[in-house]
Symmetry: C2
Subunit: 407 residues, 2 copies
């Protein structure tokens, strides 16, 4: 019989101190038996990465990416060594491996390297001799033996890529929340934990502000169809399965409500309606190093149109200066902006087959006296830009309107 | 013209914090010019190694050596990355390399691995492109890609082995003292810094308690005749050169006086005087895992003799139990011991060619009313075991008797 293979990923708060590391070791060993092999990916202990980064910035305002990776990768090397010790202490054979020891091959983009391939040889060999593998997350190695890191949240990616490489049956993502919720429970006490969610929904949720998992790692899991199980390292409770398609016969139209208060809005008025004008504008914004989120351009009846878009609040100065520059160049009108906005979104794969979702959303916002400023839609989400001080009311109203508070 | 190559090793206190790291970077870059290449070996920042060790012992009383090496080697990885950043900040190109990136090949004795070979390719390549190399000390890698450490003080060994591999002209050992002294300046204010000392003398000094450099690294430097320069990272003052033979025409008989208060004495009385009996005794002690230091056995006239030896105070219980066991087995008499002893030693290559050194030593101790309990000699040292409470007086008397307080 083929043995079951489980990949588990533990985040920094799950291994914050020796006591937590021991607790995690207990959980890991409870999975290992003669029919199941376990490979664990671990993040750096709690604030280690931030502390190392702070140390570097005391020495240089602009440290070289290569040395930064060499520095930061020690955090996971420490936690994986300690976790392997804790597992062994419970009587289970164990081996801690750095990214380069496993053979997590990446490109050479230091600080946000892309995983090209993970060698399964060393891990399969460890499995054969009955060992539990503890791999340092977030790090890899280039063909030239340079240590790289995968960017913030990179341990999620390590886990998913590992699960793919060793053909794991499931990839469990342990965190400090018990799963994915219909909305932020701190905002709406009635928020419910979801048993299942699709990769696509999770991607929308992640990019729309639910900070449970790194978006890139969800994309990879989706591409290779690796089931993810997001759950808490503090309890035995089942979390949320992230899968290709949910099993419910009656699909629910809306799975979750998210919000984002960290955006600002810029409008370029009276833009001449010519082919290629949008490209000119957003090239200018991109060259300023600003990621644009929602873009709204209305149909024009007057040879002039207004183009609005949102950017991260922290980039508003850069974005405004770029927008004003390009506005002059293309003979557009005034550039106006507002920081007092927020976005609320509803997400759900079921939208594809349900009618009237948008109407329900707008009605719910109207009833809650929330004015809609901009609207943007994707295949499985609808986002509205509204006033910042209305966001809590809006989320509550939408959560209720789509019946997310009911089982 | 062949370029000059300088290897510099900085200990943990020299890189204790960002300010010290910047100061070290200043010093490093002051050496680099178009005619000189610089490779630096760096220890972990101050207490990092102890802190990591403490973390491990919170998790396991007996952590696996392999994982311990993975853990501890991060200390030097951190300091070498930070030091490379600091060097670059001063406008010099620089590359930080771990032991495995350089190719510091060791055997697989985790925790005290022996260096087998250091690859010079990567470093020569860095030199060619004008880079200052910062290498993580204390660590290496086995043929199987396992990370090893070289034991306490191992960064000294890394530096000496590196100096050998890249054919350095000098290996500078930076520490928090300004050099090697005729004796401990805390004990004898008149102690003088030595300009030169031979490898052999330094080896005797190191093993006799002067804790400036690791003995193994001095042995390696001696074997390959690599001149060492022990000096302070806090001042520009010249330190002490450790060389094959000193240049003075008139060799000085005694170079230094050392003492060691961490020994205890065991005597096995009335040992039958048979061939092989000493081997039986010291095999038993060795099997108990105790290193014996001074051994004294007098000529026997009575078919019975007393054998005395010293061991580290911390091992006295183990050593006593082994001694009592073997004493019964060989039909010896009583086993007695004392912790209230210390050793004073005089060291000097010149002893070989000077007469009357021992007599001067014993006379000086007699004048200072210090009773001699045991005597042991090597080619370039004489050690006396005396009462613990006499050690300060003894060191002062010997320092004066051999004129070490005079230029």
């Amino acid at each position: 019989m083929k043995k079951k293979i489980v990949v588990q990923k533990y985040g920094g708060s799950s291994v914050a101190n020796p006591e937590r590391i021991k607790a995690v070791a207990e959980r890991i060993t409870s999975y290992k038996n003669k029919d199941t092999d376990v490979a664990v990916v671990v993040s750096a202990m709690a604030d280690t990465t931030d502390d190392l980064e702070a140390l570097a910035f005391q020495i240089s305002k602009n440290p070289a990416d290569r040395e930064m990776d060499l520095l930061l990768s020690t955090g996971e090397q420490i936690s994986c060594a300690l976790l392997a010790m804790a597992v062994r202490e419970l009587g289970f054979d164990s081996v801690a491996l750095t990214g380069y020891q496993v053979g997590v091959r990446t490109d050479s983009t230091h600080g946000k390297a892309r995983v090209e391939q993970i060698d399964d040889k060393r891990i399969k060999k460890a499995f054969k001799s009955g060992k539990i593998v503890i791999m340092a997350g977030y790090q890899g190695v280039t063909a030239d033996n340079e240590i790289t890191t995968l960017g913030r949240g990179g341990s999620d990616l390590s886990a998913v890529a590992l699960a793919k490489a060793i053909k794991a049956d499931v990839c469990e993502i342990y965190t400090d929340v018990t799963g994915i919720y219909t909305t932020d429970p701190r905002m709406v006490p009635e928020a419910r934990k979801l048993n299942e969610i699709t990769f696509d929904e999770m991607l929308e949720m992640a990019s729309l502000g639910a900070q449970v998992m790194q978006a890139r790692s969800i994309e990879v899991a989706k591409r290779f169809n690796i089931p993810l199980h997001v759950r808490s390292s503090y309890s035995k409770e089942e979390g949320t399965m992230i899968v290709k398609s949910v099993k419910n016969i009656e699909t629910i139209a809306v799975t979750g409500v998210t919000s984002n208060k960290n955006e600002a809005k810029i409008t370029i008025c009276a833009v001449p309606d010519q082919p290629g004008i949008s490209a000119t504008i957003f090239n200018a914004i991109a060259q300023a190093g600003v990621n644009v989120d929602v873009i709204v351009q209305n149909v024009s009846h007057t040879k002039k149109t207004d183009i609005s878009f949102t950017v991260p609040k922290s980039d508003i100065t850069k974005a405004l200066s770029a927008a004003e520059g390009v506005a002059r160049k293309i003979n557009a009108g005034e550039v106006i902006h507002s920081k007092d906005i927020a976005r609320v979104s509803i997400v759900g794969s079921g939208m594809r087959s349900h009618q009237g979702i948008a109407a329900t959303m707008f009605q719910a916002l109207a009833t809650a006296k929330v004015n809609i400023d901009m609207i943007a839609t994707s295949e499985i989400s609808i986002s509205c830009i509204i006033a910042l001080d209305k966001v809590d009311n809006a989320v509550k109203a939408l959560h209720k309107a789509f019946g997310l508070d009911k089982k």
